[in-house]
């Protein structure tokens, strides 16, 4: 009787109708399902390995690798497998970081060019984007390697730029800064400038907080650091470093920074391909800024460049940052196509290790973990950046 009255809200709900209970229950069931599936796969893997006479352990990593790696950090064939793997990891990180930096600049320029009022500029940018975005990356890397770089002139007929940059079929040779004995003195100035900059940064940060003003906290720190570095350069008795130019010795160049044909082809392929995607991301970001913003900027007398720099790009950046992160991750993962032209990246070295040891499961695990760590680090940084630019003015 009482239960029918509208006041009886405190009636006990049976658990099969209680949303709170059901929510937890379904998650528990889901988790059990996942664990069961993982368990079955794991048991299956162990059975398969036992059949092959292999066990899951990483002892082989301390064995001598015995194979050569064409480029990268210091390494001898007599080093361990672990060291060989690390050489691959560093090569992957190197090509990814340089690639991301170049692709970002290229994409930004082309993305802005696609919206240019100049017919020629706009259409060249559009043709670039449509070509490079729509041809498989593997094909492009092979093209740069076999059809462009390997067809360059021989060492003696190298293309030469500014007297210090040489390009030929064996790769690219760049001048390298060589520290002199006076480098340490200049480094001392740099360290002093850095400490001064840090103090100014913290002081200004605190002042901005107190005044509750938006502003650029490094506004004093950066010029102070640069000034100390600049003045220090002249106060140092000799030059802190000199440029070591590549020089022709015998049949090849020696000295300077050397980029192999494989590295160059991979880098150019990744940059041209990813640059096209980034250009589209930049274009859509710019177009997402309301038309009224440009009109208001024009009406107060800003010119085209100022409008882009002060009004459009800062707002477009909020839209650009998330898809830009995906493109950075894509570039990093796509660098595994290095295997096609023999650049010793993480995947290529790992592949060789698998062939030699037969330990495919642990090595595959290591390769996947490495990419995962690199990618998660990239996204963590980009997420932080994204949060930072979104905090302003919302």
């Amino acid at each position: 009787m009482e239960n029918n009255s509208p006041n009886s809200v405190s009636e006990k709900i049976p658990f099969w109708r209680d949303v709170r209970v059901l929510r937890v229950l379904f998650q528990v069931i889901f988790l059990i399902g996942i664990l069961l599936l993982a368990g079955i796969l794991y048991m299956n893997m162990l059975r398969g390995l036992r059949g092959l006479g292999l066990t899951l352990n990483l002892d082989f990593l301390n064995d001598e690798a015995g194979f050569g790696i064409a480029e990268g950090i210091a390494y001898e064939p007599s080093d361990t497998y672990l060291r060989a793997f690390w050489v691959g990891v560093v090569n992957t990180i190197r090509v990814s970081i340089i690639g991301i930096a170049c692709a970002t600049i290229l994409g930004l320029v082309v993305g802005i060019a696609r919206l240019s009022s100049n017919w020629l500029v706009r259409n060249i940018a559009a043709i670039y984007v449509e070509c490079f975005r729509n041809i498989p990356l593997l094909l492009q890397i092979l093209f740069w390697y076999t059809a462009v770089i390997l067809q360059l002139p021989s060492v003696r007929q190298s293309f030469t730029f500014f007297g210090g940059v040489f390009i030929n079929q064996r790769g690219v040779y760049l001048p390298e800064p060589q520290p002199t004995s006076d480098m340490n003195i200049w480094l001392g100035y740099l360290a002093g400038g850095f400490i001064l900059g840090l103090i100014l940064y913290l002081v200004r940060l605190r002042k901005l907080r107190q005044l509750e003003q938006p502003g650029f906290p490094a506004k004093w720190a950066l010029p102070a650091f640069l000034l100390v570095a600049f003045v220090g350069w002249f106060l140092t008795p000799g030059k802190p470093f000199t440029w070591e130019l590549p020089a022709l010795r015998g049949f090849n160049f020696a000295g300077g920074i050397y980029l192999s044909p494989e590295f160059s082809a991979l880098l150019v392929g990744l940059v041209m391909y990813t640059g096209a995607f980034i250009a589209e991301v930049v274009r859509s970001g710019i177009q997402s800024v309301a038309k009224g913003q440009r009109e208001a900027a024009k009406a107060i007398g800003l010119n085209e460049f100022q409008t882009l720099r002060l009004i459009v790009l800062p707002q477009a950046l909020r839209v650009i940052a998330p898809p830009l992160t995906s493109q950075y991750l894509n570039l990093t993962k796509n660098s595994s196509l290095a295997v096609a032209i023999g650049f010793p990246d993480l995947f290529n070295v790992g592949n060789t290790m698998m062939n030699q040891t037969g330990q495919s499961i642990p090595i595959f695990g290591m390769i996947m973990m490495s990419y995962l760590i690199i990618s998660l680090t990239t996204s963590a940084y980009m997420n932080w950046y994204n949060r930072r630019i979104n905090r302003i003015g919302r």
């Binding site: 913003q293 009406a299 800003l302 707002q315 003015g393």
Partner: protein
């Protein structure tokens, strides 16, 4: 053309047979008029009559394709130098405020003095704060546009336009996007500005404001000026049938 030269003596804006097309659509069909220095003109008319397009040609946000527009002795043409000079002489306030959302109120106002007039930051800021005080927003100077109301945003937009010390102010439906209770705070600022002697061209539906402030009311329909007259004549004794219809429809509610 002979008229044009004669009227330039006491006129700050002269329009002679101004035409504009959007593709095939003829938006402005030969506008000929002139505005005196210090004049307050209200431009009204049904939507699609070309009134917004017309005032936007005066700071060259829209480009006219035939006829001439001369603002303070500068002819609007494809000459970049002329366009730069015009933009500094003519301030504009938009229907949707168009404040820059990533900059504070103060930064919105100082942006153009710093970047275009190359004023020192401190000087630009003290001038901006004076302007913000004039429009009654000084306590919100360090907030972002999204943190203040629509009426406050529009007053900031007026301060931003005034920061370039323009000789002419264009208002493109400044109160149409506002909640009713905020309309008056913006109109008050405009009244004060009118009293200070600014030359003002205002596209608006606020007929009370028009009657009170305007020296002249221009009624446009289908891309042409149908009637122009002082407010008392315009409202009490309109000559044109279309004007009469528009006034009766606007004043009914």
């Amino acid at each position: 053309m002979a008229d044009l030269e004669n009227t330039t003596d006491d006129s700050i804006i002269v329009c002679d047979d101004v035409h504009k097309w959007f593709d095939d659509f003829h938006v402005l069909k030969g506008i000929t008029t002139a505005f005196k220095k210090g004049e307050k003109a209200v431009i009204c008319g049904p939507s699609g009559s070309g009134k917004s397009t017309f005032i936007r040609t005066i700071n060259r946000l829209e480009i006219h394709q035939r006829g001439r527009i001369i603002v303070d002795g500068i002819e609007l043409s494809d000459d970049l130098r002329n366009i730069d000079r015009i933009r500094q002489e003519v301030g504009m306030v938009f229907q949707q405020f168009n404040l820059f959302p990533h900059l504070t109120v103060l930064q919105n106002v100082t942006l153009s003095p710093i970047w275009v007039k190359k004023l020192a930051k401190g000087e630009a800021e003290s001038e901006a704060l004076a302007l913000l005080e004039r429009v009654g927003i000084e306590e919100h100077a360090h907030k972002f546009p999204a943190q203040i109301s629509g009426g406050q945003q529009q007053r900031v937009a007026i301060a931003r336009a005034l920061a370039m010390q323009p000789k002419i102010m264009l208002f493109d439906e400044p109160t149409s996007a506002l909640d009713p209770e905020m309309i008056n705070e913006v109109l008050d600022v405009m009244r004060e500005l009118a009293a200070s002697g600014m030359t003002m061209l205002v596209v608006t539906h606020e007929m009370g404001f028009a009657r009170e402030v305007a020296d002249r009311i221009i009624f446009m329909d289908e891309g042409a000026i149908v009637e122009e007259a002082a407010p008392d004549i315009f409202f009490d004794n309109p000559q044109n049938e279309r004007t009469r219809l528009f006034i009766s429809q606007t004043l009914q509610h």
